[in-house]
């Protein structure tokens, strides 16, 4: 199972799967409730948790191992796909995450990401500019650009906004 960020306005909610899987979608069993993609490393052996987390995010993002990640990495993410918009909630231990040239090449998606950490700080380096983003301040980035984030333990909500779905505010988001 992997992170799949394909988002489409023409087929806003992938149907046909009442279970949680990488395509996410609408719970057709009830027809009324949204069901997120969920991934947690909690049931895995401590030494396998980080690799599983890393694998789930490939090839979109690259999580960089540290001394501590080998001793356990209890992380969890829920991702609701809402057409050209997706919403995520995640709880992740301290870690560095990058969108490298290789990631950009292998999965050249470019939605905007707006992150809002309820808890935790991240230090980000994008296009040669370093910024410290404290908790409770929204941060806008594009997956179309490379970056390196170094994070403390974070609990965060995020929006992923497909360019095609938000064309009318594209210049504003690029300028922000």
């Amino acid at each position: 199972m992997r992170l799949n960020l394909s988002m489409s306005m023409t087929n806003p909610v992938p149907c046909g799967a009442a279970r949680l899987d990488a395509t996410g979608g609408f719970d057709i069993a009830s027809g009324r409730t949204m069901t997120p993609d969920t991934f947690t490393t909690q049931p895995l052996r401590s030494q396998d948790q980080f690799e599983a987390w890393r694998e789930w995010h490939q090839p979109v993002l690259d999580f960089l191992p540290t001394q501590s990640t080998r001793y356990g990495f209890h992380a969890e993410v829920h991702l609701w796909k809402l057409g050209g918009l997706a919403m995520g909630w995640a709880s992740v231990p301290p870690v560095s995450v990058a969108r490298t040239r290789s990631n950009l090449k292998r999965d050249p998606i470019d939605p905007w990401v707006i992150s809002y950490c309820v808890r935790g700080t991240h230090f980000t380096n994008m296009a040669g500019t370093a910024v410290e983003v404290p908790a409770k301040v929204p941060f806008l980035a594009s997956l179309g650009q490379g970056f390196l984030h170094e994070r403390t333990h974070i609990d965060r909500v995020s929006f992923l906004m497909a360019r095609d779905a938000f064309r009318d505010i594209a210049a504003l988001l690029d300028a922000a």
């Binding site: 306005m9 806003p12 809402l82 809002y116 929204p138 909500v157 210049a171 922000a176």
Partner: protein, 149 residues
């Protein structure tokens, strides 16, 4: 960073939306996307919004310029036709070309520049009246007068 009052409101909105997502239905999704777009668009600072507006106008103006250049030799081409071709109102077009004295004046200036280029081209054998006709001037005298104004 969206460290503005409306940026903080956006953060609160994201938290509230995450809590209420289980109640959202498929029918709500288009309106939800519009609401999120509006909240996000409100969050950047006024300076960034102004900068983005400039960028948007640069893009629009370039698109309109291309259409104008394609139609410099079309006798029926005038601002009202241009409005239809680019899907903009006359007042918006005027504002976009305000620094050139309005869109009609801009079209006239482009026609003059093209006519001048042909006139000064050593390889060109066209007469003044033929050039005037090509660039939609009533006659050679009108073209000459336009150069002087």
């Amino acid at each position: 960073m969206l460290d503005t009052p409306l940026g903080h409101l956006l953060g609160d909105y994201m938290m509230a939306l995450e809590r209420h997502l289980p109640d959202v239905t498929e029918a709500d999704l288009p309106r939800l996307a519009r609401a999120v777009g509006a909240m996000v668009a409100a969050a950047p600072s006024a300076e960034r919004v102004a900068f983005a507006a400039t960028q948007i106008n640069v893009g629009r103006k370039e698109r309109v310029r291309r259409v104008i250049r394609r139609h410099l030799r079309t006798p029926t081409f005038r601002p009202s036709i241009l409005c239809r071709l680019v899907g903009m109102s006359r007042s918006n077009l005027y504002r976009l070309f305000e620094d050139a004295g309005g869109v009609a004046r801009y079209i006239q200036r482009e026609r003059l520049l093209e006519a001048h280029a042909v006139l000064t081209d050593p390889a060109s054998t066209q007469s003044l009246s033929s050039i005037a006709d090509d660039f939609c001037f009533a006659d050679a005298s009108s073209l000459s007068r336009a150069f002087k104004t």
